[in-house]
Amino acid sequence: MNEILYFYDGSFEGFLCCIFESYAKHEIPIAVNGDGDYALSVFPCRTIETDFRHAQRVYRKVAAMSPCAADFLRRGFLTCLPDRELLLYRMVVRLLRDGPSFFNNLTDEMLCPLRKAVRQLDGEAHLLRGFVRFSELSGVLGAEIQPKNRVLPHLRADYCARYSNEKFFIYDRTHHEALFYADGRAVIAPLGSFRMAPPDSEEAGYRLLWKRFYDTISIRERYNPKCRMTQMPKRYWSTMTEFQDAGAFTAESSPGASPAPFSPGGRPAPGIPSGSEPSAPASGP
């Protein structure tokens, strides 16, 4: 067996192909790298082409052995754990070798970091169910988030159910991708850069109402900033309406004043599937 470094395109399918490749070529990857960071290495490296049939074969095998492992694999891939690919690869290898029983062992040393990361992913997705703030831009609801993990696939079902009659998008600043939804169809697609347009007067009005409500609802005698920060860490504040400075509450003065590349004037046409690449993991049904 040879030791080798794998590079892949960063998609979930690409990662599954790495697993396929390691079995096909009898290689043991010592690192699996998907973020295009081509570091020099003393080990031989290879770039793995994404082949959907290979990916599907790996995924089906895992799912056949243990559906819960397949789910764990998909969620584990979405986390922000630095060496998640290698850990997940080892998990699959062990699954194929020993069978799925070790999944029931909650104290298993190897699964522990992955479990923790998946718990954090779930936790972040749960928080963002509440902390996402939409702005209405000529009939379309738009929001920005800045999560650590790739939570969009987790948020998709919830927001689609919540706003089934609306058109909306959520832009993920960290991973440069966005969830688009319109007329019952949702797509997660990569989106290089995006800046929210300034609010119109109605939107600014609602923001102001919300800000005022937020400021009024707290009881001065119970002031407890530490508790607030425990429940709602500060890293979420940057995208939340109630913590914006005055600029966010004044309506746009003259139309087209801001050179926003993704302004509502030139509507982004949410819901248009850009390409058919299922670039986002877990975007399958």
């Binding site: 062992n105 209405e136 609602y206 009024t216 707290s218 009881i219 119970r222 607030r228 425990t230």
Partner: protein, 425 residues
């Protein structure tokens, strides 16, 4: 009056209500409607206010005009606060505007008593009907049933709202008599009983007819004010236990009394609200609802109040040392739940993990057990954590030390060298 101003007045008047949850309802999305309550059945916090409390619902009063004169209340008739009133249409539009922007999970509608309980409830029903029927709102609604409302109106309100609540506020009849002379115990308890029986009927209806309209699917809750009267923790907790047992309440909320009014019968203005006491009551409340404890076990007439220094579960454990150590690999779920540091989640994890093999003490931390408390009360295959020695006194000291940091600060008194001397002079 402008909407912004009304919102300010009416949310300011509603903020002392502790309840702000969106849990318990499981209504999926409906075609043509906006929102659902199923995606977060355990509730969803949309933000946290500066006092660290979760904001999940748009918590407002329909109006803060009130014919009652409860001494503890900011909205009492004799108070001189500014008065405002939402029109039902205005309120519905505001709710939808907030909901679409994901600011809130739904509406919490309460109200001062305007003219009469029935008249106020009719206005509330009107607002909710506009929201549900015109704006096709499918999200969460929590509505207040005002004591003294007629049964037919409560019925209508329950069909529109997910959760109903009737606030008891003062834990004893005597407190009610002195501080809220317009309210009576029967007037508060009768809508509660009605909601309870109606929900039981509704469950039967739903078995027979799947599409029967649901009556308050998320149940009912209530609120007790802590610290406005002389009631002990034991009285409050026994009342709570009774409400859970006999009225099937989903939640009892506790609200540390914030002195807003100067009155000889109430704590003076400027007294800080009893936050630690409120915290201990909530901890005990959780023990009643999820851990299988009874109020009688936690407090009795000899110890009518909680020890502020340690939590109720530790307190119980310290007075029942013969119950411990609990053997992790053998004990059943209920027994494990009695161990300080083990919660419902970690108890389930222990049950499932030990099927795989005997657990060792050092593995428990990985399962989510809080070892700084649990280590004194657990053994795994007969072994306890190394270096643990137990004497009731040392145990208490250790438990207090492990919890001190995260607690809200107690009033500290600066000691002075000279005070006693001056007093002597």
């Amino acid at each position: 009056m402008e909407l912004l101003e009304k919102l300010t007045i009416l949310s300011d008047a509603a903020k002392y209500d502790a309840a702000c949850t969106s849990s318990g309802a499981r209504r999926g999305p409906r075609k043509g409607f906006i929102g659902n309550t199923a995606s977060a059945p355990a509730g969803c916090c949309h933000t946290f206010s500066a006092d660290g409390r979760c904001v999940t619902l748009l918590k407002v009063l329909l109006t803060n005009c009130c014919v009652y004169d409860c001494k503890y209340c900011v909205n009492r008739r004799s108070g001189d606060s500014r008065r405002a009133m939402f029109s039902p249409e205005e309120l519905a539009e505001l709710t939808i505007g907030f909901y679409r922007r994901n600011y809130i999970e739904g509406l919490f509608l309460s109200s001062g008593v305007f003219r009469s309980p029935d008249y106020t409830t009719e206005l509330m029903i009107q607002a909710l009907r506009i929201l549900r029927e015109k704006y096709r709102f499918n999200g969460y609604i929590h509505a207040k049933a005002i004591p003294g409302t007629s049964a037919e109106l409560v019925e209508q309100l329950g069909l529109l709202a997910d959760r109903l609540s009737v606030n008891i506020e003062l834990p004893s009849e005597e407190g009610l008599r002195t501080l809220a002379p317009d309210k009576t115990k029967t007037a508060i308890l009768s809508p509660m009983r009605q909601i309870q029986t109606r929900r039981a009927e509704n469950r039967e209806e739903l078995v027979k007819y799947r599409h029967a309209p649901k009556f308050a699917p998320a149940g009912q809750s209530t609120q007790l004010i802590v610290g406005a009267t002389q009631d002990s923790d034991e009285q409050i907790l026994r009342l709570t236990q009774g409400l859970y047992d006999h009225y099937q309440l989903k939640r009892v909320f506790y609200s540390a009394y914030v002195p807003v009014v100067e009155n000889a019968l109430l704590p003076a203005k400027g007294t800080s609200p009893p936050l630690l006491r409120e915290h201990r009551l909530y901890q005990a409340d959780w023990l009643l609802r999820f851990y299988g404890f009874r109020a009688e076990e936690l407090l009795d007439s000899k110890n009518p109040n909680f020890n502020p220094q340690i939590d109720p579960k530790c307190n119980w454990a310290l007075s029942h040392l013969d119950f411990f150590p609990v053997e992790v690999n053998r004990a059943d779920g209920e027994t494990l739940l009695r161990v300080p540091g083990i919660g419902v989640t970690s108890m389930r994890r222990i049950l499932s993990a030990r099927r795989f093999g005997a657990l060792r003490i050092e593995q428990l931390q990985r399962l989510g057990v809080v070892m700084k408390r649990a280590q004194y009360f657990l053994s795994a295959s007969g072994k306890m954590a190394p270096g643990i020695c137990i004497s009731p006194d040392g145990l208490l000291r250790n438990l207090i030390a492990s919890e001190r940091a995260p607690l809200p600060e107690q009033e500290t008194l600066q000691l002075s060298l000279f005070d006693p001397a001056e007093a002597a002079l």
